[in-house]
C-alpha cells in the first residue's frame, strides 16, 4: 500500500505527518522523501546510512559530422532542449527531461545519449523505518525524474509512505502517481483552504482516494471544516496548535516521542488510513 502525504500550501506539516505516521504505524515501512528540492525527513528519522546512489538522466549529444541540420530533433523536443539555429543544432542539457525522442527521430542517427547527473538517493534505516531520500543537485531543475527514481527504489509490495513536495505541479503529480491513498495536510486559514482546494482538484483528477488532516487546528476559522463537510471529504485527524510541538520539531524530535499525549492522534490516523476508512 502506498500512502502519499501531500498539500497545496507549503509548510502545513506534510513531513510532520509523514514521519510521525511512519513511527506509529508499527510495521516495516519505507518512507520516501519525494521533496527532492529540500528533503527534510532525515532530520526526524535519524537512521544509520546504508547506501548512496547517483541518479542520472540521458541527454543528447550530437555528432556534428553526421548531422545535416534538418531540425527534426528541435521540432520534436517539447522542452526546447535542442534548438536548430540556422543549420546548427544547439543542445541545452539542463532543459532535457531524458525522453530519448530526439535520438529516435534523427534520420542521420547523429544523436546518442550521455548520462548527466541530477542528484543522489540515500537510503538509511531507523528501527522499522527505511528512509529513502532523493536529493537534487544544486542548480538542477529536474525534480520529476529524481522523484521517479526514488519511487523505483521501493518495490510495490509492503507499506510505503510518500512525503510529497508542496504545490500542485509536476513534482507533486510525479509523487502522487500510483498512490493508493492521499493524505492532504492543511491549516484552517484562508490560504490553507485556497491551496487545499487546488490539491483536492489534483487528487480527484488522478482518482486517488483521499482524506484531510488539519494541522494547527486551533487557529484560524472554520472554513476548511465547512468546505470538507460540503464536499464530503473526511477530516481524518486534527493536530492542535501547540508551542511545544513547534519546539519539538525545531529540535528535530518526533511529536509522538517528545509529547506522548499526541501519540493517539497519529495512531488513530494510522488506523483510519490502514482500514481505508471513510475516504473521499
Amino acid at each position: 500500500m502506498m500512502i502519499a502525504v501531500a498539500s497545496g500550501k507549503g509548510g502545513t506539516g506534510k513531513t510532520t505527518v509523514a514521519v510521525n505516521l511512519a513511527y506509529v504505524i508499527g510495521q516495516n515501512v519505507r518512507l520516501l522523501d519525494c521533496d527532492v528540492e529540500e528533503p527534510n525527513a532525515h532530520i526526524f528519522i535519524k537512521g544509520s546510512p546504508k547506501t548512496e546512489r547517483i541518479i542520472t538522466v540521458p541527454v543528447p549529444e550530437i555528432d556534428k559530422s553526421r548531422c545535416d541540420g534538418c531540425g527534426k530533433c528541435a521540432d520534436l523536443c517539447a522542452f526546447n532542449a535542442i534548438a536548430c539555429i540556422g543549420n546548427t543544432p544547439l543542445v541545452f542539457p539542463e532543459m532535457c527531461h531524458g525522453c530519448g525522442g530526439c535520438t529516435r527521430v534523427c534520420p542521420q542517427k547523429a544523436i546518442h545519449e550521455i548520462e548527466k547527473r541530477i542528484g543522489v538517493i540515500e537510503v538509511s534505516q531507523a528501527a522499522h523505518i527505511t528512509l529513502i531520500q532523493g536529493q537534487l543537485d544544486v542548480g538542477v531543475a529536474l525534480a520529476p525524474p529524481l522523484i521517479r527514481a526514488v519511487k523505483e527504489q521501493a518495490t510495490k509490495d509492503g507499506l510505503i509512505i510518500l512525503d510529497a513536495p508542496p504545490g500542485t505541479s509536476c513534482p507533486v503529480v510525479a509523487t502522487l502517481r500510483d498512490a493508493d491513498f492521499a493524505l492532504l495536510v492543511t491549516e484552517p486559514t484562508p490560504f490553507g483552504l485556497h491551496d487545499l482546494k487546488l490539491a483536492v482538484d489534483v487528487v480527484r483528477q488522478m482518482k486517488i482516494p483521499f482524506g484531510v488532516v488539519i494541522n494547527r487546528a486551533t487557529i484560524g476559522d472554520d472554513r476548511v471544516r465547512v468546505y470538507c463537510r460540503t464536499e464530503s471529504i473526511p477530516v481524518l485527524a486534527e493536530i492542535p496548535d501547540d508551542r511545544r510541538i513547534a519546539e519539538a520539531i525545531s529540535n528535530g524530535s518526533l511529536i509522538v516521542e517528545a509529547l506522548p499525549e499526541y501519540r493517539a492522534i497519529f495512531q488513530e490516523l494510522s488506523r483510519k488510513v490502514m482500514n481505508n476508512e471513510a475516504v473521499a
Binding site: A74, A78, F79, N80, A81, C84, I85, G86, L90
Partner: protein, 112 residues
C-alpha cells in the same frame, strides 16, 4: 538587413514588449526595403525554453539584430551562435525603438 522587435501589436506604432521569449509577436523590419512583417511567437506558451524557441524563430526569419527589453542566458547563447546582435530598448513603441537603433542610441547587450 532585418531587425526583430518584440511587440504586443502588429504595427510600427504598437507597444514594445520588454520580454523576448514570452513576447506576443516579433516585428521584422527590413532596413533596405523599409517595410516589415509580423510573426506570431509560437513559443509564447512553451513549458520551458521559450527564449530558445524565440531565438530559433527570429533567426529563421532572417533577423541579424534583435531589439527587445532583455533576454535570458539561454536565448543569448542561441542568438550569439547565430551571430545576432542584441540591443536593449526602453522605448515604448516599435517606431521609437527603430529610430533610436538607427540613430545608434541603443546599447548592445554583450553578456547574458
Amino acid at each position: 538587413m532585418k531587425i526583430a522587435f518584440t511587440t504586443s501589436g502588429a504595427t510600427l506604432s504598437a507597444p514594445m514588449d520588454s520580454r523576448f521569449g514570452r513576447a506576443a509577436k516579433f516585428l521584422i523590419y527590413d532596413t533596405s526595403k523599409k517595410n516589415f512583417t509580423v510573426i506570431d511567437n509560437k513559443g509564447v506558451a512553451a513549458v520551458q525554453g521559450a527564449g530558445i524557441k524565440a531565438a530559433e524563430t527570429i533567426v529563421k526569419a532572417g533577423a541579424k539584430v534583435l531589439v527587445t527589453g532583455d533576454c535570458g542566458p539561454k536565448a543569448f547563447h542561441a542568438l550569439k551562435q547565430a551571430g545576432v546582435k542584441i540591443y536593449s530598448s526602453k522605448a515604448t513603441t516599435v517606431a521609437d525603438s527603430l529610430e533610436r537603433y538607427l540613430a545608434g542610441e541603443l546599447t548592445e547587450i554583450a553578456t547574458a
